[in-house]
């Protein structure tokens, strides 16, 4: 759809306005939106959640959690600030303090009071990692430059690969 203002470029910013109880929609391209002073996610490189996280980290001085990469998937706080999404369930442990505060701001509480859950028994037993799991983790370790972890995984993979079947 074309921009309502210039009618030349594609509309990428969609505004819903309720003024005097009339609901109107406005579709603008990036240029016209900027010209009209509309703040868009296109001009701000961070995800809105990223802004909140940054404020949280500064306030709670948990910037030490900023650089740390998640042991399982290698995602960092920086990744979260850019996308607004975490890398894996283990990220909640890696960034526990920052996330606790972020959750408090988002939901008014960080403590779950709903249904409890217990994983099925078969999965509670420590299953040996499959070759696939190890290879995925090796790839992620290399990508996030955790070379010691990567070396360990590489050795485990080698051991599994050379095992007589």
């Amino acid at each position: 759809m074309l921009c309502d203002n210039c009618k030349e470029r594609d509309a990428v910013v969609h505004l819903t306005r309720i003024v005097d109880n009339a609901v109107t929609q406005l579709h603008l391209c990036e240029k016209c939106a900027a010209a009209k002073g509309v703040e868009t996610t296109l001009s701000v490189p961070q995800h809105p959640l990223g802004d909140i996280l940054q404020a949280v980290q500064q306030q709670a001085s948990t910037t030490s959690e900023d650089a740390a990469a998640c042991a399982f998937c290698g995602a960092t706080a920086r990744d979260f600030r850019a996308s607004g999404r975490l890398g894996c369930p283990h990220c909640y442990d890696a960034m526990e303090r920052s996330l606790r505060e972020l959750l408090r701001r988002l939901h008014g509480s960080s403590r779950h009071v709903g249904q409890r859950y217990e994983a099925p028994v078969a999965h509670l037993v420590d299953k040996p990692d499959t070759l696939h799991d190890l290879r995925d983790r090796l790839r992620r370790a290399v990508e996030s430059e955790q070379f010691e972890v990567a070396a360990e995984l590489r050795d485990r993979i080698k051991a599994l690969e050379t095992e007589p079947v």
Partner: protein, 366 residues
Amino acid sequence: MSAPRSGLDLSLLPDGGVRWLDASGPHSDVVISTRIRLARNVSGYAFTARAREGERLRMLAQVRDALVGVPSLSSSLLLRLEDLPVVDRQLLHERHLVSKELAGLDPQHPVRSGAAVFLGESVGLLVNEEDHLRLQALRSGFAVPQAFEGVNQLDRELGAQLPYAFHREFGFLTACPTNAGTGLRASVLIHLPGLVLTKEIGKVLAGLQQMGLTYRGLYGEGSEVVGNFFQLSNQTTLGRSEEELQDLLVRVVRHVIEREEEARRVLVRDAGYIIEDKLWRAYGTLRYARSVTFDEAMNYLSGVRLAVGLKLITGLSVYTLNKLLIFAQSAHLAHLEGKVLTESETNVARARYVRQVLVSEGGGVE
């Protein structure tokens, strides 16, 4: 079996995936449908966006194997979104069966490999969406407890077959922290022409935001408000129990329904013939126009729906109106015509379809 062009045989969908349109639920003139969804992730995998293709496909395989022990989805239909042409994915989205993201309809997020949906009788399971698993139940009218019962049952069965990611303090873990905790999003699709016409809608929407609810346009996240249809849902998912979140939605929606009904009474009392004229013109246009855009159709249908609710128009059922809501959309029209349509062809097809339905199902209109 199906038309050669289409990858999707609609007759395979459980009740065509449209049972919730039947207007059988409570307050179905004001509340069109209720949807409850639960977000879950499986331990041992990265979240979808970060997972590689291999991981996503393995997860899908694990889910499919697990469904053997899930009665709620026994004999469900599995659809692999990446195997479907865009028109079919659009069709599923138009029926409210899959989200825009899963269907890959957002230009910034093309369909992912491993994106799939299992469609059961009254529940569905999306796989490899923003979270690994999105469980959902869709019901006609204002039916929060019924919808929850269905999705909760699915959740218990599935959670006994797969290890969900669950944290002792933060609850169910999700890719986006806005869904953590219960992972529950309860929403209703509601029609509020009275409040819009009496210009009270702004106050009401602001009010419900203060109460912890949020609102969106007809088709969910990021869309505009069309045809006086609003989607109301809970804003937070953590710190309240599943029951509390549902109760909150139910209380607020009840209040909104009362406000809407009051607004309608005021309209009829203070502006009777003006409203009547406006609504009958809406009906007249739909009955005779030769080209109608989607937005126009939604707005006129809103008028006709209000007229039916006010009993100004009789001989037309809410079910017919619900059907028009869904089937007048682009992908549905393309499917009906059996080919891809340009925008102007779509508008002509829409007008023709609406005229036909109004004649065949609204023959007794007075």
